[in-house]
Symmetry: C2
Amino acid sequence: MQVGVLGTGDVGGRLASKLVSLGHEVKMGSRTAQNAKAAEWTKANGPKASAGTFADAAKFGEVVFNCTAGSVSLEALKLAGAKNLAGKVLVDVANPLDFSKGMPPTLTVCNTDSLGEQIQRAFPDARVVKALNTMGNELMVNPGLVPGEHDTFVCGNDPQAKAKVVEMLRAFGWKSPIDLGDITAARGLEMVLPVWVRLMVTLKTRNFNFKIAR
Amino acid sequence: MQVGVLGTGDVGGRLASKLVSLGHEVKMGSRTAQNAKAAEWTKANGPKASAGTFADAAKFGEVVFNCTAGSVSLEALKLAGAKNLAGKVLVDVANPLDFSKGMPPTLTVCNTDSLGEQIQRAFPDARVVKALNTMGNELMVNPGLVPGEHDTFVCGNDPQAKAKVVEMLRAFGWKSPIDLGDITAARGLEMVLPVWVRLMVTLKTRNFNFKIAR
């Protein structure tokens, strides 16, 4: 499958490399077609890896991952282009973290709205699925980094888009992603970030995850 | 030990009964000394159970549990009285949930502040410990309701107060409460409520809990 990955940071690189290793063709998108990190990633990941602008990557992908920083995601997706995202499964991995006042970050949106909802409203023809935002990027593509069973979540308005994302998560190693319903569940998923950050500080590791014991 | 429990709802009743069953003397506090639910609870729980006003319960307790609805906690604690709370361990179990716009609830405070912090600021001489707010009341006093291992958390500014609360949580059956640091961690602990509510709807049960897999 052709997959677009928007963002050249740790999250984008991690997901893009995993997707290539699973046999997908992946185009990494950034603000400019000549991004140094994207070029480096392309060189390291062989012939199935390519790079371009946000618009190039969005056009290329049947599924598109938003791995840009949450504070600039809406702007990046605008550059990707509504028509390039129309009908596409748009996996929103981003968190609306505001680091401008230092650590710990606060959220730029929460409680009565969420980044996932903002994206779905701004791009009504995209099929937004919130996923993987509740953990460090190392774990997203390698659940075995944390022993035992633990959970990942999806939410979104389009059942088929969610099924597609669940299938991809299974390929990453996640056995039973929990479907929390429509995109408004992104509020809850994004609002776990403050306790995630606090746990990271307390446990002195990023290799932990939420398990819903039941 | 003498314990004050503020609030006559499900949470207050559950905690107060458990505390009596563990041998503590418990005074349940409410707005008026003649509260029908408090009277019923007293009758059902024997000679170690008593009831009174918020102020009576706060004065009585060496440890005081805030089990009032989060939206009225500050007001209830004002009735309890700063001087009756001074020096006391004040266990804040409440969540700042706003049901006024229907389900799902939103939070009356979050992101850059929390109910736990508001209480600590309003009652600087109380030793506030946020605890048990991340689960249904049935589970608070009976972790075995959910199979396997799962977690409970504490945070607060006073290490000795936290140690006291951890000791009480152990008596409830919680093996290893996670200490998340000072009272500002209440933001994260309260902000998990939206995903908790969503999980309750999705899983069709209140008998689940967060485990931090690591």
